[in-house]
C-alpha cells in the first residue's frame, strides 16, 4: 500500500457515523419490491434527518443547514440510494473544502519562521516533530525552539521529537519568558543560516486574555528581528473538539494572525466535521491532518479524501 494509502486507511479505520446514519435513513423507507437497493425519496423529512447527521459530525447547526439546502437543490423529489446520498454529500463538502486545501507554503525567506499555537493537548508538539521530520526529508535545515516553558516536561517531550526528526531543539529553563527564548532562537537560526525555525508554544485556552497576550508578545518580539516573521502561524485543532473550535479560530486569528490550520487525531472516530464549518466561516487554509502518534502520521489535507471519510465512502 502506498504511503498516502496507509494514511487514508487510518482516516477510515472506523466506520463513520454518517455512513451508518445514511444507511438507516435510506432503509427507513420500505425498499421497492424487486429493487436491488433501497432508495429514499428526498423530501423535507429526509433532509431533516440528513441535517441531523451532519450536525452529529460536528458540522454545526448553521453549516449543516446550508449543506443540506445545497443538497436539496439538486436532489429534491428524486429517489436516491444510500450511495447516491453519500456521493452527493461528499461532492458538496469537497466543493466547500477545495478552496482551503493548501499545503504549508514555503518561502525563500531564511529562516522561515513557523509558529505553532493552539489550546492544551491539541497536538502542537507532536505536529512539530512530524513536520520537522518532513522538512528534513526534503533537505531543509530546521531548528526547533521549545517555547512551552510552562508545562511539566514539555521541553523533554520536544527534545525526544527533535532526536527522532534529527533536528536541534533550543531550550530554556522552566518558567523562562517564552518571548525571550523565541527571540534568541530566531537570532541563532539566522546566524546559523537555517531554512526553517519552528516554534512550539504552551497550550492556552483562547479565553485566557493573559496567555493570549503572552502569545502576542512572542509575535511582537520576533518582528523586532524580522518584521515579516512569523511567516506561518499554524493553529493546531483537535478533531474531537466540538463547536468551540470556531471560537478557537476566531480568537487565535485575532491575536496571532493564524495563517493556516492543522487538524490532529483524525484517526479516531471524530471526523472533523467542524472543519467544514470553519472553511465556511473563515476560509483559512488547511495544511495537514494528523492521523496517528508516529512521526510519519501527518498527511496533506485532501478535500476529496476528507469528504469521503466524513460521509463514509470507501474509495
Amino acid at each position: 500500500m502506498s504511503f498516502f494509502g496507509k494514511l487514508r486507511d487510518r482516516l477510515l479505520r472506523s466506520s463513520s457515523r454518517l455512513d451508518e446514519g445514511i444507511g438507516a435513513i435510506v432503509d427507513e423507507a420500505a425498499p421497492d419490491p424487486g429493487a436491488a437497493q433501497s432508495r429514499r425519496l428526498v423530501d423535507d423529512a429526509m433532509l431533516e434527518e440528513l441535517e441531523d447527521l451532519l450536525i452529529a459530525s460536528d458540522m454545526g447547526v448553521e453549516t449543516a443547514a446550508r449543506v443540506t439546502a445545497n443538497i436539496a437543490e439538486g436532489c429534491l423529489g428524486r429517489r436516491l440510494s444510500g450511495r447516491e446520498v453519500k456521493e452527493a454529500l461528499a461532492t458538496e463538502i469537497a466543493r466547500i473544502m477545495a478552496g482551503v486545501a493548501r499545503p504549508l507554503p514555503l518561502y525563500p525567506q531564511k529562516p522561515q519562521v513557523v509558529l505553532v499555537v493552539g489550546v492544551n493537548g491539541s497536538g502542537k508538539t507532536t505536529t512539530i516533530g512530524k513536520l520537522a521530520s518532513q522538512f528534513r526529508a526534503a533537505g531543509k535545515t530546521v531548528v526547533i525552539a521549545a517555547c512551552d516553558t510552562f508545562r511539566a516536561a514539555a521541553v523533554e517531550q520536544l527534545q525526544v521529537w527533535g532526536t527522532r526528526a534529527g533536528v536541534p531543539v533550543l531550550t530554556a529553563a522552566e518558567g523562562t519568558d517564552p518571548a525571550s527564548l523565541a527571540y534568541d532562537a530566531l537570532a541563532r537560526a539566522q546566524r546559523e543560516g537555517a531554512d526553517l525555525l519552528m516554534i512550539d508554544t504552551a497550550g492556552r485556552l483562547q479565553n485566557r486574555a493573559d496567555l493570549m497576550e503572552e502569545l502576542a508578545k512572542i509575535v511582537r518580539v520576533l518582528r523586532k528581528i524580522d518584521p515579516t516573521a512569523p511567516h506561518n502561524t499554524l493553529l493546531v485543532l483537535d478533531a474531537t473538539t466540538g463547536q468551540n473550535a470556531l471560537a478557537q479560530v476566531e480568537i487565535f486569528r485575532k491575536v496571532a494572525d493564524v495563517s493556516g490550520l492543522v487538524m490532529t487525531k483524525l484517526d479516531g472516530t471524530a471526523r472533523g466535521g467542524v472543519l467544514v464549518a470553519l472553511a465556511d466561516r473563515f476560509g483559512l487554509p488547511i495544511h495537514a491532518i494528523g492521523v496517528g502518534e508516529q512521526i510519519d502520521d501527518l498527511a496533506p489535507f485532501d478535500p476529496d479524501d476528507f469528504a469521503r471519510a466524513l460521509v463514509g465512502l470507501e474509495n
Partner: protein, 496 residues
C-alpha cells in the same frame, strides 16, 4: 457566537402573549429551539434526542407560572431536567478509597488531561483527606510522559513510582501495587497513556492493567470541549474498560460543556470532578446547576427567571404608580396590596419585625387584625366580577349578598372592606396630587416588596417610636421605611 436558549425562546414566544397552561404546540415549538441549543452546546445527537423526549413529557400541560412567560417556563423545565440528569438521582458519594492501598485508574483519549488530573487528584486527596498517595505513570508511549508526572509529583509533594525504562504498563501497575502496599500508602493513582477507544490493542492493554490491579475507581478523563464524538468515547471506554466516574477537564475554557450531558447520559456514571485550569489546585467537585446553566448558554437560569419576575413586578409597579398618580385606586389595587402584605409575612410577620410592637399584639388580635382577615378580604375581592373590582361603586345590596355568599362571609364584613377601600382611595387621591413621581415610586416599590423589609435594627429609634404611636392611634405604619409602607395600608389598621 451562540444564542442562549432564553434568547432563542424569547423570539419564539414573542408571538405567544397568552398565558396559562403550556399547549402541546407551545411545547413543540420550544423543544425545537431547545434541541438546537443543546446541539450547539455539543450535546451528542442521540443524547439530545432522548433528553428532548423526556422534557416534552414533563412540559406538556404544565401551568405557566404567573409573571413568567411560556418561554421562560420551558427554560426552567429544561434546566431542572438538565440538573436532574447531570446530577443523577442517587448521591455519588465519595471516591471509594477505603481498604488501603486503593488503586485508582485514569483513562482517556490522547491529550485529554489525564496526567494533570492525576496530579490534581493526588494533591486533593493528600491535602483535604490527609491520604498518603503514590502516583505511577504507565504511559510508555508519549515522549517524556513519565517525567511529566514525576515533575508534578515533586511540585505537589506526592511520591511517584521510580521510573524503570523498558517495563510494560501491566508490569508497572503491579510494581505500583507492591510499592503501595509495602510503603503504607492509602491510595495509588495509575496514570495511563492516551488511547483511542477504537485502538483495540491499546484498549486491551488498559483492560489488562485493570485486571492486574482491580481498581476501586476507574476515572474517564474527558476534554470538556469535546464535540459529538463524546458519545463514542463514553460508550467504548465504558464497555471495554468499565468506568466508575468521569472527570471533565478544560472547563475553564469558554466551551458550552455539552459533553458533560453526553457522558452522564451514556455511562450513567457520576461526573466526579471538573478541571478548571492547568495548575494542580484547579480541580473542583461537580456542580450540576453550574453546568446546566452553561449548556443552556446562560449564567444562571434561576437568576434569569427571578430577573424576569422582577421585570414583571417593576412593570406592575410602574402601572400602579401611574394609576395612583391619577388618584385611581380600585379593588384590584387593594387586592394586590393585601397579597403583598401576606407575601411579606402577614400582619404578624410585619409586626414581629418591629421591636416594641409585641405588646400590642393582643390589642390587634382583639381588633380582628390578623392574617385570617387578610385572607378573608382577598376572598371577598375574588368573588367580585371584573367590573365590580374596577368600579366598586357598582355594589348594591343584591351584588353585595352575592359576593359575600361567594366568599362564605357576612355582608357586614364586605361593608367593612368597602369602607376601608374608600378611605384608602381618598388617601391615594390626596397623595396623587401632592407627591412627586419619586416619592410615589418609592412607595410603590416598597409595596411591591422591593428591597425587602427594612431591618428594624437599622431603623432610627425615633422612627420606630413614631411607628408604634401611629399604630396605637390607628394611623397606619409610616415607620416601615418612612413613606415606604404605602399610606394606603393605614385604613387596614384602623380600629373598628
Amino acid at each position: 457566537m451562540f444564542e442562549s436558549l432564553s434568547q432563542r425562546l424569547g423570539g419564539v414566544f414573542d408571538r405567544l402573549t397568552k398565558q396559562g397552561a403550556l399547549t402541546e404546540a407551545d411545547v413543540q415549538t420550544a423543544l425545537r429551539e431547545v434541541r438546537t441549543a443543546l446541539l450547539e452546546a455539543d450535546v451528542s445527537l442521540p443524547v439530545a434526542r432522548d433528553f428532548i423526549k423526556a422534557v416534552g413529557r414533563k412540559a406538556a400541560g404544565q401551568a405557566v407560572t404567573r409573571s413568567v412567560t411560556p418561554g421562560q417556563q420551558v427554560v426552567k423545565i429544561v434546566h431542572d431536567e438538565l440538573i436532574r440528569v447531570l446530577g443523577g438521582d442517587d448521591d455519588a458519594g465519595a471516591l471509594k478509597i477505603d481498604n488501603p492501598p486503593a488503586p485508582i485508574l485514569m483513562v482517556g483519549l490522547q491529550g485529554s488531561g489525564k496526567t494533570t488530573t492525576t496530579a490534581k487528584l493526588a494533591r486533593r486527596l493528600k491535602e483535604r483527606e490527609g491520604k498518603r498517595v503514590l502516583m505511577a505513570s504507565l504511559d510508555t508511549s508519549r515522549p517524556a510522559a513519565m517525567e511529566q508526572l514525576a515533575i508534578l509529583g515533586q511540585q505537589i509533594g506526592v511520591d511517584t513510582l521510580p521510573i524503570m525504562k523498558g517495563e510494560d504498563p501491566v508490569a508497572i501497575a503491579r510494581r505500583a501495587r507492591t510499592q503501595a502496599a509495602m510503603g503504607g500508602y492509602d491510595v495509588y493513582l495509575l496514570d495511563t497513556a492516551g488511547r483511542l477507544h477504537i485502538d483495540q490493542d491499546l484498549i486491551a492493554q488498559a483492560a489488562a492493567v485493570r485486571d492486574a490491579v482491580n481498581p476501586r475507581e476507574t476515572l474517564l478523563v474527558v476534554d470538556g470541549l469535546t464535540g459529538q464524538d463524546a458519545v463514542n468515547v463514553a460508550t467504548e471506554f465504558d464497555d471495554k474498560i468499565g468506568v466508575t466516574g468521569v472527570v471533565l477537564t478544560r472547563m475553564d475554557g469558554d466551551g458550552r460543556g455539552g459533553a458533560a450531558l453526553s457522558m452522564r447520559a451514556i455511562t450513567g456514571k457520576p461526573i466526579r470532578f471538573v478541571g478548571l485550569g492547568e495548575k494542580t489546585d484547579a480541580l473542583e467537585g461537580f456542580d450540576p446547576a453550574r453546568i446546566a446553566g452553561r449548556i443552556l448558554g446562560m449564567g444562571d437560569i434561576v437568576a434569569l427567571v427571578e430577573k424576569a419576575q422582577e421585570v414583571f413586578e417593576a412593570e406592575q409597579a410602574e402601572r400602579m404608580m401611574r394609576r395612583f398618580q391619577k388618584g385611581l385606586f380600585n379593588m384590584n389595587d387593594l387586592k394586590m396590596q393585601l397579597e403583598q402584605m401576606m407575601k411579606m409575612g402577614g400582619v404578624e410577620g410585619l409586626m414581629g419585625m418591629l421591636p416594641g410592637v409585641g405588646k400590642m399584639k393582643t390589642q390587634m388580635a382583639e381588633a380582628g387584625l390578623d392574617d385570617s382577615m387578610l385572607r378573608r378580604q382577598v376572598a371577598l375581592i375574588n368573588s367580585m366580577t371584573r367590573q365590580e373590582r374596577a368600579n366598586p361603586a357598582l355594589l348594591q345590596a343584591s351584588r353585595k349578598r352575592r359576593i359575600a355568599a361567594g366568599a362564605g362571609l357576612e355582608v357586614q364584613e364586605l361593608n367593612r372592606l368597602l369602607k376601608q377601600h374608600r378611605q384608602m382611595a381618598d388617601v391615594m387621591k390626596k397623595m396623587g396630587r401632592q407627591t412627586k413621581g419619586g416619592a410615589m415610586r418609592a412607595a410603590v416599590q416598597q409595596m411591591m416588596g422591593k428591597g425587602g423589609m427594612p431591618d428594624p435594627a437599622q431603623m432610627d429609634p425615633a422612627a420606630l417610636q413614631a411607628a408604634a404611636n401611629a399604630l396605637k392611634s390607628g394611623g397606619g405604619l409610616p415607620g416601615l421605611g418612612g413613606a415606604a409602607l404605602p399610606q394606603g395600608l393605614s385604613g387596614l389598621l384602623r380600629k373598628k
